[in-house]
Amino acid sequence: MQLSRQTLFTLALLLIGLVLPHFVYPVFLMKGLCFALFASAFDLLLGHVGLLSFGHAMFFGFAGYVTAHAAREWALSPELSILLGVLTATLLGLVTGWLAIRRQGIYFAMVTLALAQMMYFVAVEAPFTHGEDGIQGVPRGLLFGLIPLNDPLAIYYTVLAIFVLGLALIHRVVQSPFGQVLKAIRDNEPRAISLGYRVDQYKLLAFVLSAGISGLAGSVKALVFQLASLTDVHWHASGEVVLMTLLGGGGTLFGPTLGAFVVVIIQNSLAEAGSWVTIIQGAIFVLCVLAFRRGIVGTLSPWFAKIGIKV
């Protein structure tokens, strides 16, 4: 059997994902994977529909809160807790998307930002989030009643599986006829309308999908860190996911993942240096926008395309 280069490349990446926890601290890798899934879900909107949401932290953070609450207070199993988190994010996405798609471009970004800020204040005030403390000591539990997620490798492989499935889903959506319509909307919205597509419905569905998958990432992160806190609903988190996507390369398959890992590495290596993380993130933002708009993967993709690999 002849494997295509594309398949080999994907298998190689998967292999790296499988062996890496034996060399690198698994919690760090899981943080990267959660943000990678979050950024990929965000890019479903930015890279493929051309919608810049500045409020994705609300889906990520609120799903985390619900999962943490379900696992800790209701003692639900991890799979059910995650499911509840994803449902919350999806519903939140439905309402926010329904409001936000009434405006385009910059306004869309401002509306999502404002709605996310509202949800941030809800998180500050609502009793179940425990305000500044967050929901701490979330039990990881037994996945499907079988797999003890307290084992570092068990939870790592679970997170990896969820990440791969999530990315595969996004890839599938983008490649589907639905995804092609989304691209058409991105490239020329009036034309898509004149061709008879109900553009608003397509946008809304993409928004809800993106919100749901972001929620999945947030739910998983809550279980990994056994914590849901205000950090993940703050607008800084919304900005970070934009940065990850921009840096890695929007509209590419692996760009947001790479961007997420780079940003997480920066955060970890500068964790002691206080505000320098923010300063460097700001500087990368400025550089990316001015000189590096296609991102790392976007810049490398022609080179990969020559050897028959789509990245």
Partner: protein
């Protein structure tokens, strides 16, 4: 003590004044945003950072140059405008030909960068800035006690907003500015230096943010994070008002400050979310904003 709807009058008017003060800042900031957006098509995310820098400029001028409040009221906006001019010339002007979202992303990055730098230098605990002696004390209006400084802030904001409105609607310069918003290419063909006009507009918007910062310094403590939380509310104000008119931005700013103040009296738990809820309702009823035209 007289009461209204079971609320002591003094408390009610106290919150109304606080609301007006907040509204004064919303109005000044959203006016600057609207000016910049109108001509440059850029949503200036760094507006909050410029506001913060205005406050810091006042604090630094006092500490290192001995220049007091009145000097800062003139100098700090100029300093902020100068920095903004550099930002526009060196960075922002390269992005006008691209999708407008890049302007938003660039200014977001700048906001992070500036905020981080100030946090690194000055920490997050607020720095005190005293109310100038001329504006200390209170006026007893009979039905309430009005701190003079708060009245001053509202008065300055109203005067500045009306002057800017008059500048744009009633002067030759304003006519050129409106023409540039309408059709920059045609205006350039008439020999007007449009890029210079853009820089000047960005500086003017930034100066308004800087001025707000100086006005805010004695009320809120001077703090690197003071701008970022405010600016998101101002964005919501801008969405509610629509970008169509200068007066729209000003009126919406004051009205929302007032509504927030009243919320604090009657339903304190929704104060933080009130503006955003109103924004959601406005989006449902009038997607282009109260004063906006769809474009």
């Amino acid at each position: 003590m007289p009461t209204v709807f079971g609320i002591p009058m003094a408390a009610l008017f106290g919150q109304v004044v606080l609301g007006c003060v907040n509204g004064a800042f919303y109005a000044l900031l959203s006016l600057g945003l609207a000016l910049i957006f109108g001509l440059l098509n850029v949503i200036n995310f760094a507006h909050g950072a410029l506001y913060m820098m205005g406050a810091f400029a006042a604090w630094l001028l006092l500490g290192y140059a001995g220049i007091g409040y009145w000097g800062s009221l003139i100098l700090a906006p100029l300093i902020v405008a100068l920095i903004a001019g550099l930002i526009e010339r060196l960075l922002l002007s390269h992005l006008y030909k691209l999708d407008h979202l890049y302007g938003l992303l660039l200014t977001f990055g700048l906001a992070l960068l500036l905020e981080g730098l100030f946090r690194q230098q000055f920490g997050v605990s607020g720095l005190p800035y005293a109310v100038p002696p001329e504006l200390q004390g209170v006026w007893n209006l009979g039905f309430m006690i009005l701190p003079i400084y708060r009245g001053w802030v509202v008065a300055v904001s109203v005067v500045v907003c009306v002057s800017i409105w008059a500048l744009i609607e009633k002067t030759k310069l304003g006519a050129i500015l409106r023409a540039a918003t309408e059709n920059p290419t045609l205006l350039a063909a008439f020999g007007v230096n449009v890029p210079l006009l853009m820089t000047a507009t960005f500086c003017l918007g930034a100066a308004l943010a800087g001025l707000s910062g100086v006005l805010a310094a004695p009320i809120y403590s001077v703090n690197p994070l003071m701008g970022s939380n405010l600016i998101i509310v101002v964005f919501a104000v801008v969405v509610i008002g629509g970008m169509g008119s200068i007066m729209g931005a000003v009126v919406t700013g004051f009205a929302l400050g007032l509504i927030e103040g009243l919320c604090k009296v009657f339903v304190p738990q929704v104060t933080a979310t009130a503006v955003f809820v109103i924004m959601a309702i406005v989006l449902l009823v009038r997607p282009a904003g109260l004063f906006g035209k769809r474009r």
